[in-house]
Symmetry: C2
Subunit: 190 residues, 2 copies
DNA sequence: TCACATTAGGGACAAATGTCCTATGGGGGT
DNA sequence: ACCCCCATAGGACATTTGTCCCTAATGTGA
């Protein structure tokens, strides 16, 4: 749901404060609704969120949207496209006020080539992502909407995350109409 | 669909043939229906497929199965669980005769800590996976079954991959009944 | 070759989901 | 204060999907 990665965040923060990198890794602010990345564009920088909430979403050719995750502190983006030499898979949009570290391509590639701690940290991030993405896909395919929704509401509660109905539906891969029905069913049941 | 990774395979093959590792990284054979990994178990080794086809699947508590991918040459498994210190997320079962390199935990961890080329190669693998897993999830949530099925049939054709109807349904996250209906609709349409 | 298990195919009905449309209730801007 | 936009909520109907069956075909071991 709302992904954060404290250990990766600490690593990047420390890095950004070293003499070598302090003038190369800079903080950037984004207002709500601003885009950090735009689907389909070439990626020219790697971004690590310092603070704030964003939604990562894929728009299909039929106009529908799917939200794999909401990203927050310590989450990295753009690195997959760079390593795979692909254009941007998803758009990332600020939901709240966001600050993020901007890592230039040259710095990212330099770190990849020389810094094994960085490699290890990044690997852990990607491994976690594969894990969660697969688990989410499986869960959503095999359970009822109600069941998935209950889980989502729990997570929202736990993380104090307020998102629109439309985004909730996109996260679940359903329409708002179906979401409303499921919400009604859940509330009427207890 | 059927994932392979030639560059990672070459890397591992070369590694397994060096003096240092030739007695530590060994080939193992699996017959069809044998399990390479079992969901829920602790992971004690990393496996890289040399040859053959496997299916990777998640069984949910309601008994249903979801197949994120079919894995073949050069695909690695078990590494995510080790890096994240988790039990096995999915089961992996041989569909054809399979041979695979078994990499002991100690060797894997040693490589992670010391070999930056290995880190880079692995990172590329995981990045690709996140990319494909997200794309697949989005596609399946937002398009009709028929559309997803057509794509699946294309891929099967291109890769000359023969799988059971049940597995096709699990890959798409639907029941065989729905699969049959979709198949009929497609064939009747042209 | 026969018996049995496994896989494939589909009928009938119930349940879930999407589509289209309408209505309501703030919130922000002028 | 007024208007407009946008998010929310839900009715009505069509379509899709799942569930529970039962048969037909295919393959495998004794």
């Amino acid at each position: 749901m709302l992904r954060i990665n404290i250990s990766f965040f600490s690593y990047i923060e420390t890095l950004a404060n070293t003499d070598v990198f302090s003038d190369k890794i800079l903080l950037q602010k984004y207002k709500p609704k601003e885009y950090l990345l735009h689907q389909g564009d070439p990626v020219t920088k790697v971004i690590v969120i310092n603070e704030g909430i964003t939604k990562c979403f894929i728009t299909e050719e039929n106009g529908k949207e799917y939200i794999p995750e909401f990203l927050s502190t310590g989450e990295i983006m753009g690195e997959i496209e760079i390593m795979g030499k692909k254009n941007c898979l998803a758009s990332v949009e600020a939901i709240s006020e966001v600050t993020a570290y901007i890592i230039p391509l040259s710095v990212f590639e330099h770190l990849l080539k020389t810094d094994i701690t960085f490699n290890n940290a990044l690997l852990e991030v990607e491994a976690l992502r594969v894990y969660h993405t697969s688990q989410k896909a499986s869960f959503q395919q095999l359970y009822t909407v109600e069941h998935a929704l209950e889980k989502l509401l729990e997570l929202q509660e736990k993380q104090q995350l307020k998102i629109s109905k439309e985004d909730m539906a996109s996260y679940l891969g359903i329409t708002t109409r179906t979401l409303n029905r499921a919400l009604k069913k859940i509330s009427g049941e207890e």
